[in-house]
Amino acid sequence: MLAETDAPVLSLRGIVKTFPGVRALDGVRLDLYPGQVTALIGENGAGKSTIVKTLTGIYQPDEGQIIVDGVETRFPTAQAAGDAGVTAIHQETVLFDEMTVAENIFIGHAPRGRFGLIDRAEMTRRARDILTSIGADLNPSVKLLDLGIASKHLVAIARALSIDARVVIMDEPTAALSHKEIAELYELVEKLKRQGKAILFISHKFDEIFRIADRWTVFRDGQFVGEGVMAGTREAELVRLMVGRNVDQIYPKRPARIGKPALTVAGYCHPTEFDGISFTLHEGEILGFYGLVGAGRSEVMQALFGITQPSKGAVRIGEDVRVIRSTAQAVRAGIVYVPEDRGRQGAVKGLPIFQNVTLPSLKDTSRNGFLRLAEEFALTRTYTQRLDLRAASLDQDVALLSGGNQQKVVIAKWLATRPRVIILDEPTKGIDIGSKAAVHDFMSELAAEGLAVIMVSSEIPEILGMSDRVIVMREGRIAAEFEGDEMTPENLVRAAVGIEGEAA
């Protein structure tokens, strides 16, 4: 069935893409064959999204070649990629809610009638044809906002077909679908294969990849690490390629003296995001939370911090049972949260450093509700110095600081409240190496002082290097918990992607 001699429709060779401080793609290659599904596999941050954006003309590679039908070409715009027959169905495909199904399918290339006006009748007719061909029972005249996610996916696929695409990129297409809808998607992929389309299928789920892909390519840290045909490949091999880096970075983890339970979570549930979350965190412990993007880790943490409310479940802090309905209550109970989205949720840009730091501690620095600036500067100085903040003055707008230093301001803000539990969500994501080390160093210091620390991270070396214990989440549930020698990269990835049994 697999004709090895087939020439690829599209090939990438030696693609390099750098962003300030990061080499997102470092000389990667990728081949897509007609009538075959190629699975692109890699951890978070391996460069999968960057490659999709390169293929669809959103990013321009710094180096390397894009070869279509053996001819080197460029995709300077998204339009150019579309003209070359490349189309993508994203995790959150850009569609227009206020427009009809037919308009969405034909946006940008609608059939024209007299005077160059859009021929609505023709558009609706062709939309219906395409929808029928993929077995989608949708009315082309319905507005998109009346459709569910699965139907929107079908519209996105119909759009891909309407431009006569030869390469279809599916970026985690099943992330938001139910089992039945996933089965229908598989059928559709088979249909596309029969039509001779080359499909790039990006997914974290191994069962899907083995079910649907013909070939695989693995990226790790922006580099190409291997490719092959699916037949005869074992899961273990792919896992090893995915994580196979050396965990050789030095983490300043200090031996922890694990104390009494600081936080006990029992049966936390949320209608859509997570289910049945129970765990205990101890004083002096660093508890790692690993999982794939979208596994529900941040959602659990934000519920613990009072941003969202759980539908069920209880929290005990020390000895007391607490109900946390707002961030103010969480802070009072001694739980604080350093968010992943620093720009939007972390620092208040526009306010100076000292005002950011004292924001949750104003009760302590003020007298009778009136500010005392000297106290504020003193408190800020204490904590920013411990974190080795680099800034021109404490009166400087946080927006002018680097990402790493903004993160230090956010951490200082919480430490100044003298919390019992600190939750750090991807604490070192996107910050420079120097600040990263400072944050790690400080984290161990805090744990050694008896603070209970939760660290959500998608970086395996960081998780393994810093945690005393690791909880792995998958699809909103706790999938596994590892301690001591069980904490291996293979075990974490297995639990995160959902491979049962078969020892590494």
């Binding site: 208040v348 306010l351 924001l359 509700g369 500010l371 003055s393 009166d395 803000k413 409240t417």
Partner: protein, 333 residues
């Protein structure tokens, strides 16, 4: 510099690089103050009647009532919200005062009715915005029609007149020599709002919410509660303004204080409050109110008709806002 062992003891970050005084000298408020003094001098040169103390005292009525509301509105706009129903709140408060007066109430009760109606209106706006998360611009455009509509239903073509003598004190009384009661209320309000915005925890929270409401919530601030209080304050100040205005006019018509909301917002924006929220100051609003008052009074002395006056006010607003931007554009050339 790239020393790998961070030197924690010697690195010292200063509290401030710029002293508060030098910052104040380069501020928007300073520019406004210069504009205000300029207009004052122009007026004095243009009309011989301008410098008369009693004339100046009368002139303060051009801004006192609006400025009282402008202080609360400034806080609201800094927090990222707005209240366009303030003129309508005045109408409703004034109507309520009129109803109480017809029922035979005396001045103290009339004041309480005015304050209470203002607070109720503010609470209504506040619940819709803070509790239900509706956009304040839409909510208050709605309540603008709602509140004034109730006044029209109550009054129709008629008016309440014949307020008790004791009630006249608020809008017509003098505390000492040419200093009116309204001017004193204005000054007290300025002082209180200055303390609240610039010297209290609450004011700090207002700035934090205006700069980034999400991050403020993630910092443990009860964003909804702060916003609700701000709407209450705006309602309360509108109630006080309604007492002063009703007392000064001695009558209530449903069209009372029509168009107030835009003049209040003009004062706030002229005072240097960012319409996008996050920055601004009470001194700026005070000076902006003086500028408004001076311009209206000066033009009035020169017999400039009202329509032309509003054109000049509009141009002044655009001019003062555009000035700093033009300045930087010219310097960059």
């Amino acid at each position: 510099m790239s020393d790998t062992t961070p030197d924690r003891t010697t690195r010292h970050i200063p509290d401030r690089l710029q002293s508060p005084l030098s910052r104040a000298l380069k501020s928007w408020e300073m520019l406004l103050l210069i504009v205000a003094v300029g207009i004052f001098i122009l007026n004095a040169l243009a009309s011989p009647y301008f410098l008369d103390p009693w004339n100046l005292s009368d002139a303060t009525f051009n801004f006192t009532e609006k400025a009282m509301i402008a202080f609360a509105m400034a806080l609201l706009i800094i927090s990222g919200e707005i209240d366009l129903s303030v003129g309508a709140i005045i109408a409703l408060c004034s109507t309520a005062i009129g109803l109480a007066m017809t029922a035979g109430a005396q001045a103290p009760v009339l004041v309480l009715v005015g304050l209470g109606t203002g607070l109720a209106c503010g609470a209504f706006n506040g619940v819709l915005v803070a509790r239900f998360g509706l956009p304040s611009i839409v909510v208050t455009i709605g309540t603008m029609s709602l509140f004034r509509g109730i006044s029209y239903i109550v009054l129709g073509d008629s008016a309440f007149t014949g307020y008790p003598a004791g009630f006249a004190w608020f809008g017509q009384g003098y505390v000492w020599w040419v200093i009116t009661v309204e001017l004193v209320i204005f000054a007290l309000a300025a002082l209180i709002f200055w303390l609240v915005l610039h010297r209290s925890n609450f004011g700090r929270m207002v700035y934090a919410i205006g700069n980034n409401a999400t991050a403020a919530r993630f910092s443990g601030i009860r964003v909804e509660r702060v916003k609700f209080i701000l709407f209450l304050l705006t309602g309360l100040m509108s109630g006080i303004a309604a007492i002063c205005l009703t007392s000064r006019l001695g009558s209530t018509r449903p069209s009372i204080a029509a168009g107030f909301e835009l003049e209040v917002v003009t004062i706030v924006v002229l005072g240097g409050v960012s319409i996008l929220g996050g920055s601004g100051s009470i001194p700026g609003v005070v000076i902006a109110a003086l500028v408004m008052g001076l311009v209206t009074f000066g033009l009035g002395l020169m017999n400039v008709p009202g329509i032309v006056m509003s054109i000049i006010m509009g141009l002044l607003l655009i001019g003062v806002i555009a000035l700093p931007r033009l300045w930087t554009m010219l310097r960059r050339r």
